[in-house]
Assembly symmetry: C2
């Protein structure tokens, strides 16, 4: 699931959900929803997370088994 891939990356960065939200310019509560799989991300938001994690969006999807 994409949420777990994003959670893992966040933990690697050792930042809170709030901090990741700030880094990726998304709403404070959004990261929690994404990590719980409650949010159907857009490609643009996926790109923001990938930029924050310094990886490719396709790599994030592959880590999620997609």
């Amino acid at each position: 699931m994409l949420g777990s891939a994003i959670l893992e990356r966040r933990l690697e960065l050792e930042v809170s959900q709030e901090k990741l939200a700030e880094m990726a310019s998304v709403h404070r509560n959004y990261v929690g929803k994404v990590e719980r799989g409650e949010q159907n991300l857009t490609i643009e938001t996926l790109v923001r997370f990938a930029v924050t994690f310094k990886c490719k969006p396709s790599e994030l999807l592959a880590e999620a088994g997609l």
Copy 2:
């Protein structure tokens, strides 16, 4: 751009935009908007296109340089 990757895959399948829309269960006009880069796809819609093209969503993104 993701739109061109989807266009290329569609042409390989030799199907019209309308037919791809039907195969991927999206609105008839949606494929044209996606191919022109006017639509910010969600991951779920990307997965639908990938299933239709019998490839992985991460492969589609990689083909789009993402």
